[in-house]
């Protein structure tokens, strides 16, 4: 994603998330769950990060929020380098960026009323705010997520809410500090189909109001319907990125094509055999040499095990990039 505008809200440059695996029997080795990712999210934009489990999507989201420290690379927020911001700096950032969790059944304290859950972040971040102002802010947040009338919901406990209402309450809680950037990690995968669209529409409205949204999901159909751009991850790397429709209608990387090939059509008359990729995503500690996808790639050539391709522009569509030596002509290697 080289086509960054002059001032993106969030910008990751070649970030690496490194975990050390240590056990009783070995001194441990380090594993790069995110192995050099660059991306940016602008104000008023939703970027979807898609890929299989184990591709490093969630770790990338955590790097952007500084919930994880980058072992290498740079994390910028609103033009400031926050890669090494500590203590007070991080605390100030927490008010401007928030995480929305996957499971609204676990992310809300079952012993607290909605009012307490919503007002808690303000007690931490806005210590001088009056109880009355906090309550007013809670009412506003509930109204914004469509839990109206707000007073009917303030007194309730999480178990008195349906799944969709819970996720809306969780989103309301993250809106309390008026963040400019949210990372939504599989925000609808635990919810019923009939309420997913309303939660996604809510995130789209926040985006339209100027918020930057990083949507983490393995659900490509949902990503296409709501996100402005899609970045496809495989084994710690972005392998393709671009405008959502460009990536889905004109996929360039064989892995993107593989992901699209297993999504069934809703119309039974348009049934096609799903193109199942052989094998499973390897352990990031055992990433193959060359292109990380080549052992599973249906198009793999001997050169693919030698060269580690870099992202480069692959179609007429501005910002549409893929990391594959077989597409777009010419070889570009990672530095």
């Amino acid at each position: 994603m080289t086509s960054a505008p002059t001032n993106p809200l969030v910008e990751l440059t070649d970030v690496v998330a490194r975990f050390s695996q240590r056990s009783l029997f070995s001194r441990g080795r380090s594993i790069d769950a995110v192995a050099g990712v660059s991306l940016h999210v602008d104000r008023g934009e939703m970027l979807a990060l898609v890929g299989e489990s184990g591709s490093g999507k969630t770790s990338t989201g955590h790097l952007a929020l500084r919930l994880l420290d980058a072992a290498e690379g740079r994390v910028c927020f609103d033009g400031h380098d926050i890669t090494t911001a500590g203590g007070r700096g991080v605390r100030a950032l927490r008010r401007r960026m928030q995480l929305i969790y996957q499971d609204p059944y676990e992310s809300l304290d079952p012993r607290c009323r909605v009012s307490t859950i919503l007002e808690e972040p303000l007690r931490i971040h806005e210590r001088r705010m009056s109880a009355r102002a906090r309550r007013e802010r809670a009412r506003e947040a509930l109204t914004r997520v469509g839990l109206t009338p707000p007073d009917a919901f303030l007194k309730r406990f999480p178990h008195e809410l349906s799944g969709g209402q819970r996720q809306r309450a969780a989103i309301a809680a993250s809106l309390m500090v008026e963040p400019e950037f949210v990372v939504a990690d599989e925000p609808v995968s635990m919810l019923d189909v009939s309420v997913r669209a309303e939660i996604m529409a809510l995130l789209a409205r926040l985006r339209d109001a100027g918020m930057g949204v990083l949507l983490i999901t393995h659900d490509l159909p949902t990503a296409v319907k709501y996100a402005d751009r899609i970045a496809v991850m495989y084994l710690g790397r972005i392998v393709e990125a671009g405008a959502s429709r460009a990536v889905v209608d004109n996929p360039q990387h064989p892995y993107t094509r593989a992901l699209l090939g297993v999504i069934p059509s809703l119309d039974p008359r348009k049934r096609t055999k799903l193109q199942v990729l052989r094998g499973e995503i390897p352990d990031p500690g055992a990433a193959p040499a060359g292109c990380r996808f080549h052992p599973r790639c249906p198009l793999g050539t001997p050169a693919c095990s030698q060269q580690d391709p870099a992202l480069r522009v692959v179609s007429g569509e501005p910002g549409h990039e893929a990391a594959c030596i077989l597409v777009g002509g010419g070889a570009g290697q990672r530095g």
Partner: protein
């Protein structure tokens, strides 16, 4: 479902008036499944679709006789023409794993962690007297091969396998005793789309090869449309529609079916996705009206007057909706 086309042979599974009520210690009664009639034909792929709390899993557990004592279960279940009874525990238990097998949600996490997978697959065959120890082990290796786990991994322990491979092991185990019917309850819920596609590929190939009927219990409409022949849609404890999937997709009779389709994103269209406003009703009080009426975009006066019965609306299509019933 007596109005479905007359078949030469009776259905493999025939359920009439299945009714499940949970009674809590304080006396509250939750009517989880309301008079379910269901026919599953031989070797067909049938889906039971609906959202959480609609009664799809409860219905299946009732069929299998696996509900707790606090559940009041009524109804008639016939498998292959023979009645499977409550109060006839011995018969029930004998049929349970011989003729009907089940892959549970999260089955991949229910394997015995300290036993090799081929042994675990052999065990039900030995217990049910289908095969002796040696033949059972051989059959286990064969089944693993069929689900795509090579013979050299047959002696592996569950922790040595990925989630997808453990789920395949669970499928191999379910097929061990040559069932006539395989019930899979959300078999891919915790798996991502690539592994999900692999599992479904294995599942459908096996049921077709072995001539087994499949009941897929799921909330995932695209999967149903892609894999199944017929589907029943459940809402708030009742079957509201049942038809071949082409019919369901192109000419849904019940507004809930239509709205559920409109709520599922389709990669191949640019159609907007719409949620269904409102929440499902509580099941602890009688209805006296259509249970979907308050969320329905086509509701009219009659919907408040009574709960519509399930009736034929086409040659092989049933729906419980007043829009399709004569004003008699």
């Amino acid at each position: 479902m007596d109005s479905s086309p007359q078949e030469a042979s009776p259905p493999l599974l025939r359920v009439r008036g299945l009714d499940v009520t949970f009674v809590s210690p304080d006396g509250a009664r939750v009517h989880a499944v309301d008079q379910l009639d269901l026919d599953v034909r031989r070797a067909e792929r049938f889906a039971l679709v609906g959202e959480s709390g609609c009664g799809k899993t409860t219905s299946i557990l009732a069929l299998m006789g696996l509900l707790p004592g606090s559940a009041e279960v009524r109804g008639r279940i016939e498998l292959d023409g023979a009645r499977v009874l409550y109060g006839d525990e011995a018969q029930q238990r004998k049929n349970r794993w011989r003729d009907v097998a089940m892959v549970f949600q999260g089955a991949m996490n229910s394997l015995n962690p300290v036993q090799a997978i081929d042994k675990q697959i052999a065990e039900p065959m030995i217990v049910h007297g289908v095969a002796d120890r040696r033949a059972a082990r051989r059959r286990a290796a064969e089944l693993l091969e069929m689900v795509g786990i090579p013979a050299r991994r047959a002696g592996a322990f569950p922790h040595e396998l990925s989630g997808g491979m453990r789920q395949r092991t669970a499928i191999a185990m379910a097929l061990a005793c040559n069932p006539k019917l395989l019930i899979a309850d959300e078999p891919t819920t915790a798996l991502d789309p690539m592994v999900q596609a692999q599992i479904f590929e294995v599942l459908t190939r096996l049921v077709d090869e072995l001539g087994i009927a499949l009941i897929l219990v799921t909330h995932d409409l695209p999967v149903v449309m892609h894999l199944c022949d017929r589907a029943a849609v459940m809402y708030a404890g009742r079957m509201v529609e049942c038809a071949p999937v082409e019919q369901l997709y192109h000419e849904p009779a019940h507004p809930y079916t239509r709205l559920l389709i409109a709520a599922s994103p389709d990669l191949r269209t640019r159609d907007a996705v719409n949620s269904i406003p409102g929440v499902p009703p509580r099941l602890d009080r009688p209805f006296g009206r259509c249970r979907f009426q308050d969320r329905c975009d086509r509701a009219f006066a009659r919907c408040l007057e009574g709960d519509p019965p399930l009736a034929a609306v086409g040659p092989d299509q049933l729906a419980a909706c007043w829009l399709h019933q004569d004003q008699s």
